[in-house]
């Protein structure tokens, strides 16, 4: 695929064997991976180290910015002894439950309604104006309303996560259906596909890559929805921890909660990519860019 000489970055003498070229290319690729890894770690260490040192020497105010070692201590304390509001796992579980339920219901609703409106011009002409209207409302302002309606428990956060997720997934599913290849549609119809067969065998698969792109983004949105809901009013959850840390001017606690969320979001992203790759074996592998 790629010119071997380009990878190795050297010109080979005439008469160099294929094996030598391949070995050189493999070595170059290995070296490059190592270099990337080195710089990744180096940047992390410099940043955290810089933060720690400037906090200790008073360059930045520890009261506002905390320092990595304090955040680490707080994380250890939370995991081993629990937070002031009970075990960390309980809070994490509550937040995840809210985010996952909102994510699941929101994305299913988004996909179903997106495909339905994408397939039906008349319905989409009618509803598009309302969807634009509701979509223009900043989702966060709904938090107090939902808490008023659904109370301090799970339901209000799920509702918030739902509306965060729904519109992203909906608009992508809708667009994906609209972009379905007309030739493929015609081919399926001539081969004998009717109604639901056409939707299932052409429309949904071709909208799938659009839908997946939206699922990546919208899981993050589901977490935002859950946490914002918890800020505004709740008895459990990571958002509550942040809120309490804020109330006690405990900056280490706030950063520790952020770290927890970061880890969760990264793990979810990883799982999602895994699922997507499993479902999309038919797609050509991206060209490996070794430069």
């Amino acid at each position: 695929m790629t010119d071997a000489a380009l990878i190795a970055g050297v010109a080979f003498r005439p008469g160099t064997s294929d094996a030598e070229i391949e070995a050189a290319a493999a070595k170059a690729a290995r070296d490059r991976r190592r270099k990337v890894l080195f710089w990744r770690w180096a940047i992390l260490i410099v940043m955290l180290g810089g933060w720690e040192i400037s906090a200790r020497f008073g360059v930045i105010d520890e009261f506002f910015f905390s320092r990595p070692s304090a955040i680490w201590d707080r994380l250890v304390e939370w995991t081993l002894e629990g937070t002031s509001e009970g075990p960390l796992w309980l809070h994490l579980w509550v937040t995840m439950e809210e985010a996952l339920t909102g994510f699941a219901t929101g994305s299913v609703a988004g996909i179903v309604i997106g495909i339905a409106l994408g397939r039906n011009q008349f319905l989409s002409d009618i509803f598009s104006v309302y969807i634009k209207l509701i979509n223009s409302v900043p989702r966060v302002v709904l938090a107090p309303i939902f808490i008023m309606i659904f109370g301090l428990g799970l339901a209000s956060k799920v509702a918030l996560a739902f509306v965060m997720v729904f519109f992203v997934v909906f608009s992508n599913a809708f667009q994906g259906v609209r972009e379905a290849d007309r030739n493929l549609m015609a081919n399926a119809q001539i081969l004998g596909a009717k109604g639901w067969q056409l939707t299932r065998s052409v429309v949904i698969p071709s909208a799938m890559s659009w839908i997946f792109a939206s699922l990546h983004v919208s899981f993050g949105f589901a977490i935002i929805g859950a946490i914002v809901g918890e800020f505004v009013g709740s008895r459990h959850g990571i958002g509550l921890l942040i809120n309490i840390a804020k109330g006690t001017f405990d900056s280490a606690g706030m950063y520790a909660a952020i770290v927890v969320i970061m880890i969760v979001a990264l793990a979810a992203e990883y799982v999602m990519t895994l699922v997507e790759n499993r479902l999309a074996t038919w797609r050509p592998a991206p060209l490996q860019d070794t430069h």
Binding site: A186, A188, I190, L191, S206, M208, W282
Partner: protein
């Protein structure tokens, strides 16, 4: 098919057909006008014409994906009602389902039409063998070459045993050598299946090499300018036929006719662009 059908009625007949449609800015445009064409049973008809003259529109009228604005399209003496199951269509661009493996692409037609799975898959394997693709069943379209993808398309179409086969510049995206091989594959499949074919192309030599009858269309709005019977004996070997005297003579005659239309079409495009 109703029993009243006269067995002598042609497979496809277009009688005084016109088709207009609305351009995106709301203007009415005529794609084809007063179009008459008749394709006998088992006959191979090629349609040539300048680019953009409405050749593809003609095919869409036969499939039932589009309706004529006036005139009538008949299949085996009956009117076209929606998409007719006796029709097969091979597209110019890739119309394979990229998310399905080769065998799942071929099996699509029979499964859509409610055949049992076992039977459909057995038949699909048989058709893949006929287009020399055994052993590639579980590959995805993107893993195949252009010529192989086209052979999958042919198997996907032929497995439904169409009585009318419509082909819209099916080989125009292939390189010249692959195209010649595909011509022989197509003629082989056609002589077994005994389908009536309408083969749209802008390649005159391809048209003459394959067809029994060549329709030359005018530049848009398209109407039939002239019809040439091709009396070259069958079975034909496409890679050799193009060097025969009578092939060359016929090709020159038709080209003289077609050239006027091509030039007129090009001149019109230039004035439009200016």
């Amino acid at each position: 098919m109703p029993a009243t059908d006269v067995s002598a009625s042609p497979a496809v007949e277009l009688i005084n057909v016109s088709r207009r449609f609305l351009t995106p800015d709301g203007k009415s445009m005529t794609a084809i006008r007063d179009f008459n064409m008749s394709v006998g049973r088992g006959e191979f008809v090629a349609v040539v014409g300048p680019t953009g003259c409405g050749k593809s529109t003609t095919l869409n009228l036969v499939t039932g994906l589009a309706r004529p604005s006036s005139g009538e399209v008949q299949l085996f003496g009956g009117p076209v009602n929606g998409i007719d199951p006796r029709i097969g269509f091979v597209f110019q661009t890739d119309a394979l389902f990229p998310w399905r493996s080769v065998i799942d692409n071929v099996v699509a037609g029979p499964l859509f039409r409610g055949k049992p799975r076992e039977e459909a898959y057995a038949k699909a394997r048989e058709w893949l063998a006929r287009v020399h693709l055994s052993g590639h069943e579980s590959k995805y379209p993107h893993q195949l070459s252009g010529g192989m993808r086209k052979r999958v398309s042919l198997a996907q179409t032929f497995i439904n045993e169409p009585q009318i086969l419509l082909m819209d510049e099916p080989f125009s995206a292939l390189d010249v050598q692959t195209r010649v091989i595909m011509h022989d594959v197509l003629l082989g499949l056609w002589s077994e299946a005994k389908a009536s074919v309408i083969f749209v192309t802008h390649d005159l030599e391809e048209a003459i090499a394959l067809a029994d009858k060549v329709y030359v269309l005018t530049s848009g709005p398209a109407t039939v300018k002239s019809v040439y019977p091709v009396d070259l004996p069958r079975p034909r070997v496409v890679s050799e036929i193009r060097y025969q005297e009578d092939f060359i003579a016929l090709s020159r005659t038709i080209w003289d006719d077609l050239r006027d239309e091509v030039e007129r079409s090009a001149a019109r495009d230039e004035t439009l662009a200016a």
